[in-house]
């Protein structure tokens, strides 16, 4: 049976792990490669690096970080942030990433998703959707770290990028990110029901019950969190034990 994945996310800026509260007030939480090794040993199912400054500082992506992590962590690694072109995807895959996540670039030009999926396969193309609630039951895409409104409906956009060939959706609720108030369940459920591919729920995890809710109520195939793991509130093992106790299949070995 396929297991529900628990994914610690390392937000990276200037080569260091940070975690913003609603994407401001960054707090330095360590060296990304060291953190990746620790999560590898703790039983994380995947790792995710997001280069949170890449888009608005126009920086390139994190080839060196991918390479050093892949040399020491034999587990799946997704990298996002500042990914704009098919060549960016190729470079990250060669450096050591297993999946590459588009964000703003896919909003500006959904066809870049098709070009990348045609070249490398849907299985390694993730589209990150950062959505804010604009009305009850309506969510809109925001880009550039949540600062820029696009007017694009999140559920429609999810359907569009899946049709273009995206293999997975990384869904972040900008209303909840950094709040520790739990996932935005209606948003997660709406996107999960709308697409045929796995959805990773992200944004707002404060307790282990939130992880359970993302799966049982939100319909997510994977749950992503940062703060509760980075600051030692809970281990990956505790998260999985809690999910298993709630009847969710997880990889415990």
């Amino acid at each position: 049976m396929l297991k529900t994945r628990v994914i610690p996310c390392l937000d990276v800026a200037d080569g260091r792990v940070v975690k913003g509260v609603n994407f401001v007030d960054l707090v330095d939480a360590g060296d990304p490669v060291e953190a990746a090794i620790a999560y590898n040993e703790a039983g994380a199912d995947e790792l995710c690096f997001l280069d949170i400054h890449a888009t608005h500082e126009n920086r390139g992506t994190m080839y060196d970080l991918a390479t050093r992590t892949a040399e020491q962590c034999f587990m799946p690694l997704t990298i996002g942030g500042g990914v704009r072109t098919v060549d960016d995807v190729r470079s990250l895959l060669l450096a050591g990433a297993d999946k590459v996540s588009f964000n703003s670039a896919a909003v500006a030009d959904p066809d870049v998703v098709a070009r990348a999926a045609d070249r490398f396969g849907s299985q390694c193309i993730v589209v990150a959707i950062d959505a804010k609630t604009v009305a009850p039951g309506r969510w809109e895409i925001f880009t550039h770290g949540g600062r820029r409104s696009t007017g694009v409906d999140a559920v429609e956009f999810a359907r569009t990028v899946i049709a273009k060939g995206a293999g997975e959706i990384l869904l972040t609720s900008m209303d909840r990110d950094g709040t520790r108030a739990g996932f935005n369940i209606p948003l997660t459920r709406a996107i999960s029901d709308a697409v045929s591919v796995p959805v990773i729920a992200s944004g707002g995890v404060g307790t282990l019950d939130h992880l359970v809710e993302g799966v049982t109520e939100g319909g997510a195939s994977a749950v992503l969190a940062a703060s509760i793991f980075h600051f030692g509130d809970h281990t990956i093992g505790e998260a999985k034990a809690h999910m298993a106790a709630a009847g969710i299949p997880v990889r415990l070995s």
Binding site: M1, E71, F74, P76, L94, G121, S196, V197
Partner: protein
Amino acid sequence: MLTVLIDYAAGNLHSAEKAFQLMAREVDGGDVIVSDRAEDVAHADRIVLPGDGAFPACMTELKGQTGLFDAMVESVETKGRPFLGICVGMQLMARTGFEYEKVPGLGWIAGDVRRIAPSDPSLKVPHMGWNDLVIDRPHPVLDGIATGDHAYFVHSYQMEMADPAHLLAHCDYGGPVTAIVGRDTMIGTQFHPEKSQAAGLRLIANWLTWSP
């Protein structure tokens, strides 16, 4: 001893290279290189065909580099050099692929590659994540790997087996999904051993020391 990972512009070669190099050091398995040169493949004692991507595109790339495809086929079919296909590299071992279009495979394993169709329609495709293996047949490369061990899968198509004698392991995803195939000097894994932590590294070490 030289192991060559074939670079045909498909996939995560760096992590695969590092995993094979690490295990080669542990088991005294010689050198591991990544190469797209036919002469390196011709001289290789062991050949790994990795791969991420679509079946037709991967086959086109593999055949598009001068002499590479022929060198690989001669080493495996004529010289009997140990071969390991990973993910799409494993799928290319089949008779025929049906991803987007019908494309002939290497014809090494009696099976065809078709889209995964879980019996439960709520199951998502791609089949992505950790699934537990069911060992169907003992094999030296599975030494120390047991039913229940987890491996990391990410794929939308799978090899449907025509000859169960070539099936070494499967997993369940709304029906059986082929996980490991093998015949003579050839092994293929649908999952990524280089991403499957302990069980994956064990399989790589076993394969590097396997003398079929």
